[in-house]
Every structure is written in C-alpha cells, then in structure tokens.
Symmetry: C2
Subunit: 149 residues, 2 copies
C-alpha cells in the first residue's frame, strides 16, 4: 500500500505564504492604482496635498500639527505638505498670537478656488477607484476598510 499523497518536499514548508494574497500587498497595489487614477484626474496637486487642502477648507484655519492629526500625517510629514502647498500659493500661514508655538494655516483664495474646482473630480477619483465593485459591494467594502484603520 503506497502512500497516495506524495510527501511534500521540504521547500514547500513555506508554500502557505503567497505574497499576492496578503492584505498588505493588496493594500499597496490598491493604493498604487488609486494614486494613478488621482493624478490622472487631478494633475495639479497630489492626493496628500488635496487631503490637507480639503480638510483645511472643511475646518477653517487650523494649527499645522492639528491639521496633520486630522489628515493622519505626522508632524514631519505635514510640514513638508504645508511647505509645498504654500510654495504653490494655495495656503497662507501665520503665527498664532495666543500661542507662540503654533502656526495657523488657512486656505488662500487660490487654494479655495482650486478646492472647489477639483472636488468633483475628487469624487470621480473615488468612484473610479471603486468601480470594479457594485454599489452594494462598495458599501460593504468601505465599511470593512474603515474598520481596519
């Protein structure tokens, strides 16, 4: 009576790990695709910069670090984003008179205008990113995804 199931070679001990099905790898690829869609529809500004600008338009003038917290960027990251947005003339910044540590940032005229001009495209970016899923699937997916944050 021979064993009908051939013994797995030693090298198969790690066959259980398939990179292409790991959540981290899939998250990275989905993010890549999303960023491609974003830069295609909104070439003027990056996804991260748009996130900061939109939060700024939503919240009004905010301190730099607070804006970073609201957009999930650490202090070092938000500084770079703010610097680049200011260089583009999309935001203004000034010291908070009540707290000499803080820097108040606010959307400039040009920043508000750009935001209002691109927010519909941003909606399209989200739609196109999710377009491989049905409406019902999109709802489920977003609900699950939001639980993984």
């Amino acid at each position: 009576m021979d064993n009908t199931t051939p013994p797995a070679p030693k090298s198969d001990m790690t066959a259980g790990y398939i990179l292409d099905t790991q959540v981290g790898f899939l998250l990275r690829r989905a993010t890549q695709r999303h960023l491609t869609i974003f830069s295609g529809l909104i070439p003027a500004i990056t996804s991260t910069q748009f996130a900061a600008l939109s939060k700024l338009c939503e919240l009004g003038p905010t301190s730099q670090n607070a804006l970073g917290r609201a957009t999930a960027m650490d202090a070092a990251t938000i500084k770079g984003v703010i610097d680049r947005l200011r260089k583009k003339g999309l935001i203004t910044s000034r010291r908070d008179p009540d707290d000499q540590r803080r820097i108040f940032v606010a959307a400039s005229e040009a920043g508000s205008a750009l935001y209002h001009d691109t927010v519909q495209s941003a909606q399209k970016v989200s739609e196109e990113t999710l377009s491989p899923l049905s409406k019902a699937e999109q709802t489920v997916f977003l609900e699950f995804l939001s639980r993984l944050t």
Copy 2:
C-alpha cells in the same frame, strides 16, 4: 406652504466631500496601520523588503526588473530595495552571462534563513491587520480588495 427643508448655504456646496470616508484616505490609513503592525512583529526588515525576499524565495533567482514586476515595484524602486537587501547580506547578485544587461538576484543563506524564520510572523501580521473583521468578513474583504488592484 413653506419649504420644510431649509436651503443649504452656499458654503455647503462641498459638504458632500468628507475626506474621512474617501476610499483613498481609508486605504492610506489602513496601510499605515498595517505597516505599524508589520514593524512591530518583524523589526529586522521592512514590509517591502520582505515582499521582495519572499518573492525571491518563491521564484528562485530572478532578474532585478522581473522581481520588481512580480512585487509591483518599478525599476527605480526595486533597485533601492535590492541595494538595501544586499547591504544586509540577505541576497546576492551577479550579471547574467547570457544577457549582459540583466542582473540575477538570489536569496543568500542568511536571506533564506531570515525568510523561513519570519514567514510565520508575516502570517501573524496579516491576521492581526484583518483581526477587526470576522473570518467571513475577511474573506469578502480580501476578495473585494483584490479586485481593486
């Protein structure tokens, strides 16, 4: 007959866009969380480096660019990853004698050892990342996520 739904002020025209519910923002935050879990469980190597190393162990010796394609990294990115893996002694590389353009990369002894020693932790990373979802939800989520790549 007064209109019972009060007219939205002009500034609300963009209220439909809430950053925190956009798929791109959620993808970024989920990726952040995943990377935090990864570096907590596998401090020796980054998520990206592990991806390259695991694909290398799966495929055997491969050209640098081909490995990049297999791990969704462009030529410039995979170069940096390969350089850092080689500096750590986890891979070796040599010119392909049959094609002077190509560079063959392969996992070193240390690289294979590290991979086999950490692959179970990598499984745990995926599990922990998905742990806010039930098993059934995880299956659905991964299926949807893989469709967005």
